[in-house]
C-alpha cells in the first residue's frame, strides 16, 4: 500500500529510484570501510600504546604514534562521510523517515551520544598526548574504543529493524503506540550487531597487517614491521573462526525470520527438503545455471538434517523477490573471503606453534597483504546480501523502497555529483594515507624507507 503522502507528491521515476539506491549503496559502502577502522583501530592502538608503556619499547611506541596519526585522519573522514548518511536518510528516503523516523530514532540518538564521546575524547587523546601522564592518556583513549563499538551496535540495531520492523502499530498510515525498545531489540539485532562488530575488528586487524606485509615484501623485515604485522594480524586471526560460527548462527536466524533473503542468497527457487548448497553459478529464467552443488548442504546447515524443509523463492510473489544474482554472489564471495581469512589464520597459528615465527614462504606475505583486501571485500559482500537481499522492501513487509524514495525529480544529477566528490575523496584519502607511511619520523627507525 502506498502511503497517502507519497501519492500526493506523485511517485518517483524508476530511474530516480535506481539513482537513490546507488547513491545510498555507494556512500554507505564507502563509509563502512572507514567506519570499520574507526571501530577497531582505537582498541588496537590502545593495546599497542599499553604494551609500549609497559615495556618501554621504542618500536611499539612509534607504531602507536603513527597509528594515532592515521586514526586522526580516518576519524575525520569517517565523521563527515557518516554525516552524509544521516543527511541521505532524509534526502533520499523521506518516505521512510516521515512514517518510521520516530520508531528507529532511539538507537540513532544513542549513536549520537556515542559519536560525541568518540569525537571529544579523540580530540583529547590526540592533542594532549605529551601533556598527560601515560596512564591518564591511555584512559582518555578508552572511551573512544568503547564508543566506537557502541556506535556500531546502535547503528546496526536500526538496520536490523528494517529487516524485522516491529514495536509500533499503524493507524491511517501513521504509527502509534511505539515501543522503542521492542523496535531496537528485534530478532535480527543480535546476529547482525555481533556479526558486524566482529567484521569491523577483522577489517582493522587484516587491513592494518596488510600495510606491514607490503612493507616486509619490500625488504623491510625489521622488528618494527614484524610487530606492526603480527599484532593486528593476531587480532584478525583470533576472530576469524568465531566469525564463521556467528555467520552460521546468522544464517539459521535468517532461515527462520527472512526465508526469502536466504533463498536469494542460495538461489533456491523451489521449497524443498535435501536443499543443496549452491556455490557460484548464474541465475537466468528462474534457474541457477553452472553452480557447484553440495547435496543437501543447505538443509544440513539450516536444520542439521538433510530432511530439513528450506523455503524457496516460490513462497513469495515475483514482485516481492530481491534481485537474485547480486545476493547469491555477495553471499558466496563473503563466505569464500571468510574461509580464506580462516586458512590464513590457521597458517600463521601453525607456524607460530612450531617455530615461534612467521611462515617462511614469501607467498604468505603476499596472501597476507591480500587478506587485508579480502576482509574489506567480505564486509562489502555481506552488506550486499543484507541490503539487496531485503529488496523490494525498505522495511520488510511494511514499506517498499519505492514508497520511501524522495519523489523530487533529478536525483540522478545528485547521484552523479556525489559520485564525483567521493572519487576525489577516495584518491585524496589514499594519497594522504600513503604520504603518512612515508613521513619523516620513520627514517630514524627504518633507514630503508624511501623519503
Amino acid at each position: 500500500m502506498l502511503s497517502p503522502l507519497a501519492l500526493a507528491a506523485g511517485p518517483a521515476s524508476p530511474a530516480d529510484l535506481l539513482a537513490a539506491r546507488m547513491q545510498m549503496g555507494f556512500s554507505l559502502g564507502w563509509h563502512i570501510i572507514i567506519a570499520c577502522l574507526g571501530v577497531g583501530m582505537p582498541g588496537l592502538l590502545l593495546f599497542m600504546e599499553w604494551r609500549a608503556v609497559r615495556t618501554g619499547d621504542a618500536d611499539r611506541m612509534l607504531l602507536a604514534r603513527r597509528w594515532a596519526k592515521a586514526v586522526g585522519v580516518l576519524f575525520a573522514v569517517g565523521a563527515v562521510s557518516g554525516t552524509i548518511l544521516s543527511f541521505e536518510m532524509g534526502l533520499l528516503w523521506p518516505g521512510l523517515m516521515d512514517v518510521y523516523g520516530q520508531v528507529i530514532g532511539i538507537p540513532f540518538a544513542m549513536e549520537g551520544v556515542a559519536f560525541f564521546m568518540e569525537a571529544i575524547f579523540l580530540g583529547i587523546y590526540l592533542y594532549a598526548w605529551d601533556r598527560l601522564p601515560p596512564r591518564i592518556h591511555m584512559l582518555s583513549g578508552l572511551p573512544i574504543a568503547i564508543a566506537g563499538v557502541a556506535s556500531a551496535f546502535f547503528v546496526v540495531c536500526a538496520n536490523a529493524w528494517m529487516n524485522q520492523p516491529r514495536g509500533f502499530e499503524l493507524e491511517n498510515g501513521r504509527v502509534t503506540r511505539v515501543d522503542p525498545m521492542a523496535a531496537m531489540f528485534n530478532p535480527a539485532t543480535l546476529h547482525q550487531t555481533v556479526h558486524m562488530i566482529i567484521a569491523a575488528l577483522m577489517v582493522t586487524g587484516f587491513a592494518t597487517a596488510a600495510v606491514y606485509a607490503v612493507g616486509m615484501l619490500r625488504g623491510r623485515r625489521d622488528r618494527y614491521h614484524r610487530l606492526g604485522f603480527l599484532t593486528p594480524f593476531t587480532l584478525g586471526a583470533v576472530l576469524s573462526p568465531i566469525q564463521i560460527f556467528v555467520g552460521d548462527y546468522a544464517g539459521r536466524v535468517i532461515a527462520e525470520y527472512q526465508p526469502t533473503k536466504l533463498a536469494a542468497a542460495e538461489a533456491l527457487f523451489r521449497t524443498r527438503t535435501h536443499a543443496p548448497l549452491s556455490l557460484g553459478g548464474v541465475v537466468r529464467n528462474d534457474t541457477l545455471h553452472w553452480a557447484v552443488e553440495v547435496p543437501s548442504g543447505l538443509s544440513l546447515l539450516v536444520g542439521l538434517s538433510p530432511s530439513t524443509l528450506v523455503k524457496g523463492l516460490d513462497q513469495v510473489p515475483r514482485a516481492d523477490r530481491p534481485p537474485i544474482n547480486p545476493v547469491h554472489w555477495g553471499f558466496d564471495v563473503m563466505v569464500a573471503s571468510g574461509f580464506f581469512l580462516l586458512l590464513m589464520s590457521a597458517w600463521l597459528a601453525v607456524a607460530w606453534w612450531r617455530r615461534r615465527d612467521l611462515p617462511r614462504p614469501r607467498l604468505f606475505l603476499w596472501l597476507a597483504a591480500l587478506a587485508g583486501v579480502a576482509a574489506v571485500v567480505a564486509v562489502e559482500a555481506g552488506w550486499i546480501v543484507t541490503e539487496v537481499g531485503r529488496q523490494p522492501w525498505i522495511a520488510v513487509g511494511r514499506m517498499r523502497t519505492i514508497e520511501a524514495v524522495n519523489p523530487a525529480p533529478g536525483l540522478w544529477g545528485g547521484f552523479l555529483i556525489v559520485l564525483v566528490v567521493y572519487l576525489v575523496l577516495t584518491v585524496a584519502t589514499l594519497y594522504v594515507l600513503r604520504l603518512m607511511t612515508r613521513a619523516a619520523p620513520v627514517r630514524a627507525v627504518a633507514p630503508q624507507e624511501r623519503a
Binding site: 503522502l5 500526493a8 507528491a9 586522526g72 585522519v73 575525520a76 573522514v77 565523521a79 563527515v80 554525516t83 552524509i84 544521516s86 543527511f87 532524509g90 534526502l91 523521506p94 523517515m97 516521515d98 518510521y100 523516523g101 520516530q102 520508531v103 530514532g105 532511539i106 540513532f108 540518538a109 544513542m110 549520537g112 559519536f115 560525541f116 564521546m117 569525537a119 571529544i120 575524547f121 580530540g123 583529547i124 590526540l126 592533542y127 605529551d130 601533556r131 504509527v175 502509534t176 503506540r177 511505539v178 515501543d179 522503542p180 525498545m181 524522495n406 519523489p407 523530487a408 525529480p409 533529478g410 545528485g414 556525489v418 566528490v421 575523496l425 585524496a428 594522504v432 604520504l435 613521513a439
Partner: protein, 329 residues
C-alpha cells in the same frame, strides 16, 4: 510543559550550540580564505579549530537525529523539498572536514594550498546553504509532505539568500571574535582579528537590519512575529551586538566572547519565538508533527544520560584546548 515542547527546546539548544561552536569553525575557514599572505593567521586558525571541530560538528548530527525522531514529518518535508541545498551542504561538510585534516598532515607547499583552498571555500559554501534552508522554511516555502515545495524556489528566494548571507556573516563574526582572545593567548598580535571582528560586526548588523525589510516583503508572517512577540529577543540581539562592538573597541576580548555569543543566541531564538507553535509555516505546528509521547520520553532520557557523559567531557576538552601551547604542533 509537555514532552514535545521540551524536545523542541532541546532541538533548538542543539542548533544554537552548533551555530556557536560549529559556526565559528566555519568562520575560521572564511578567515583562512581571506588571510592572503598572512600565514600566521592560518596557523592560529588551525591551532584553534584542530582539537574541537569534530566534537562541534556532532551537534549537527544531534539536531538531525532529534528532528527526525521528535518531529519526523518536518524532517521528511524539509529534507525532501530542500534536497538541493542540503546535498550542497552535505558535500561542503565532506570537503571541509577532510580537506582540513588532509592539510594538517601534508608537508608539501602545493598540497597544503590545494587542501587549504578546499577547506576554506567549503567553509563559506556550507553555512550559506544551511542558511538558505532556514530561509526556505521560515518563509513558508516548505509545505508538509514529500517534496511538495518548489524544487528551486524553496531555496532561491529573497529570504533564503538573506538567510545564507547572514549565516556566513555570523560564522565569520563569531570566529573573528573568538580568535582575538586566541591570538592573545598564543602571544600574537590580536589587532588583525579585532579589526575584522569590528568590520564584520558592523556588516552583519547592517545585513540583519536590511533583512527585516526583506522579511517584511517576502516573509510577512515571520516579520510580524519578530516585531511583536519576539521583539524583546530582537532588541536583546541588537543591544548585545552593540555592546560587543564597544567591548572590541576597548579590547576586552574575553568579555566580548560572552556578548557576541548572546547576540547570536538571540538572533537564533528570535525565529522560533516569532513563529511558535508553528514548525512549518504557515500552519503546521509542532504538536501535529510530534512523535508519540513514549518515543519523546525515551529520547529525553537517552539524551539526559548522554548529557551527563558528554558535558563534563566537553569541559575537559575545552580546558585542554585552552591550555595547548601554541607551538606544540
Amino acid at each position: 510543559m509537555d514532552t514535545a515542547q521540551i524536545v523542541l527546546v532541546v532541538l533548538w539548544v542543539g542548533l544554537t550550540l552548533y551555530a556557536l561552536l560549529g559556526g565559528a569553525d566555519f568562520g575560521g575557514g572564511v578567515w583562512d580564505l581571506l588571510a592572503g599572505r598572512e600565514h600566521a593567521n592560518r596557523r592560529l586558525i588551525e591551532h584553534a579549530i584542530g582539537p574541537v571541530w569534530e566534537a562541534n560538528h556532532v551537534w549537527l548530527i544531534f539536531v538531525l537525529v532529534v528532528l527526525w525522531t521528535g518531529f519526523p514529518p518536518v524532517f521528511a518535508a524539509v529534507m525532501s523539498t530542500l534536497y538541493i541545498p542540503l546535498t550542497g551542504a552535505a558535500l561542503g561538510i565532506i570537503c571541509r572536514g577532510s580537506a582540513f585534516v588532509f592539510r594538517k598532515v601534508s608537508t608539501q607547499w602545493w598540497q597544503r594550498r590545494l587542501f587549504g583552498a578546499a577547506f576554506a571555500i567549503s567553509s563559506v559554501v556550507t553555512p550559506f546553504f544551511l542558511g538558505t534552508v532556514a530561509g526556505g522554511i521560515a518563509s513558508g516555502r516548505v509545505p508538509r509532505g514529500l517534496a511538495t515545495g518548489p524544487l528551486l524556489g524553496s531555496w532561491l528566494n529573497p529570504t533564503s539568500v538573506f538567510g545564507g548571507v547572514l549565516a556566513v556573516g555570523v560564522c565569520a563574526y563569531l570566529a573573528a571574535v573568538y580568535l582575538c582572545d586566541d591570538a592573545v593567548r598564543a602571544g600574537l598580535d590580536p589587532e588583525g582579528f579585532r579589526r575584522r571582528a569590528i568590520g564584520t560586526g558592523i556588516v552583519v548588523g547592517l545585513i540583519a537590519l536590511a533583512g527585516i525589510g526583506v522579511l517584511r516583503l517576502d516573509a510577512p508572517g515571520l516579520f510580524d512575529g519578530l516585531t511583536h512577540r519576539a521583539l524583546p529577543v530582537v532588541v536583546v540581539s541588537a543591544v548585545m551586538g552593540l555592546a560587543s562592538l564597544g567591548l572590541l573597541l576597548v579590547r576586552r576580548y574575553l568579555l566580548v566572547r560572552l556578548t557576541a555569543v548572546l547576540a547570536v543566541t538571540a538572533v537564533m531564538w528570535g525565529w522560533p519565538v516569532a513563529q511558535y507553535p508553528v514548525m512549518l509555516p504557515p500552519s503546521f505546528t509542532y504538536r501535529q508533527a510530534a512523535a508519540g509521547p513514549e518515543v519523546l520520553l525515551v529520547m529525553l532520557i537517552v539524551l539526559g544520560v548522554g548529557a551527563l557523559l558528554i558535558l563534563p567531557s566537553i569541559g575537559w576538552l575545552l580546558l585542554i584546548q585552552r591550555r595547548l601551547p601554541y607551538d606544540s604542533e
